[in-house]
């Protein structure tokens, strides 16, 4: 049972436009959410996070929105740049006994020049 879902395997956006990556989760006990970015042949790197007590967190061109009632979060990249082309993983933190991140399947973002 996939607890964290990224339903769009890929997304193509023009340079300068907004990229919106979506993520849904099923477990209301998740209390922290993270986005990781992964380039080919490299390990994932942390991008941005949000606590369940907030509904928005911004870091430069990246903003994450959290809608707890819908169990949905999204990552907005504005403006998109070719260097943003990568796989983006959504992850939820189970801060209870497991102390583990649960990852989605990823979305491949292609930013076209």
């Amino acid at each position: 049972d996939q607890q964290v879902k990224q339903n769009s395997p890929s997304l193509s956006v023009q340079e300068g436009r907004i990229s919106i990556l979506n993520c849904d989760y099923t477990n209301s006990m998740f209390d922290y959410f993270l986005w990781y970015k992964k380039y080919p042949a490299e390990g994932p790197t942390f991008l941005i996070s949000i606590s369940s007590i907030k509904d928005k967190n911004e870091d430069g061109r990246f903003t994450v929105f959290l809608n707890k009632s819908a169990k949905h979060l999204s990552l907005h990249i504005v403006p998109s740049q070719p260097g943003d082309s990568a796989v983006y993983f959504c992850a939820a933190f189970d801060g209870g006994a497991t102390n583990k991140l649960i990852f989605g399947t990823g979305t491949l973002l292609a930013v076209q020049p």
């Binding site: 990224q6 490299e42 390990g43 994932p44 996070s49 102390n99 583990k100 991140l101 990852f103 399947t105």
Partner: protein, 117 residues
């Protein structure tokens, strides 16, 4: 500060062979993790450790073993390689702790690409 390092970068194994994937971190992190990533799939947790001498199974532990004799090292052992273990393996570490959201970031190594033929 090298972060999380993994060796080897690539390996081809024959069915039934054994090998150990090495992982080390120099950040004095308590938590360490092993994931595998199959094409088109997310990261699946194989094993994790919350400190030296303590390990536990993740979602997909079958066919693997781990040990954690020191804080720095967390090797992953494949005893009888099978084609289903062809994947990219990532090691990660996290400081952990009882409070503070800043503790939640996991740092990943560059990965080991394993092919079993």
């Amino acid at each position: 500060n090298a972060g999380v390092t993994q060796t080897p970068k690539f390996r081809i194994l024959k069915i039934g062979q054994s090998m150990t994937l090495q992982c080390a971190q120099d950040m004095n992190h308590n938590y360490m993790y092993w994931y595998r990533q199959d094409p088109g799939m997310g990261l699946k947790l194989i094993y994790y450790s919350v400190g030296a001498g303590i390990t536990d199974k993740g979602e997909v532990p079958n066919g693997y073993n781990v040990s954690r004799s020191t804080t720095e090292d967390f090797p992953l052992r494949l005893e009888l390689a099978a084609p289903s273990q062809t994947s990219v393996y990532f090691c990660a570490s996290r400081l952990g702790g009882l409070a503070g959201w800043s503790y939640n970031e996991q740092f990943f190594g560059p990965g080991t690409r394993l092919t079993v033929l």
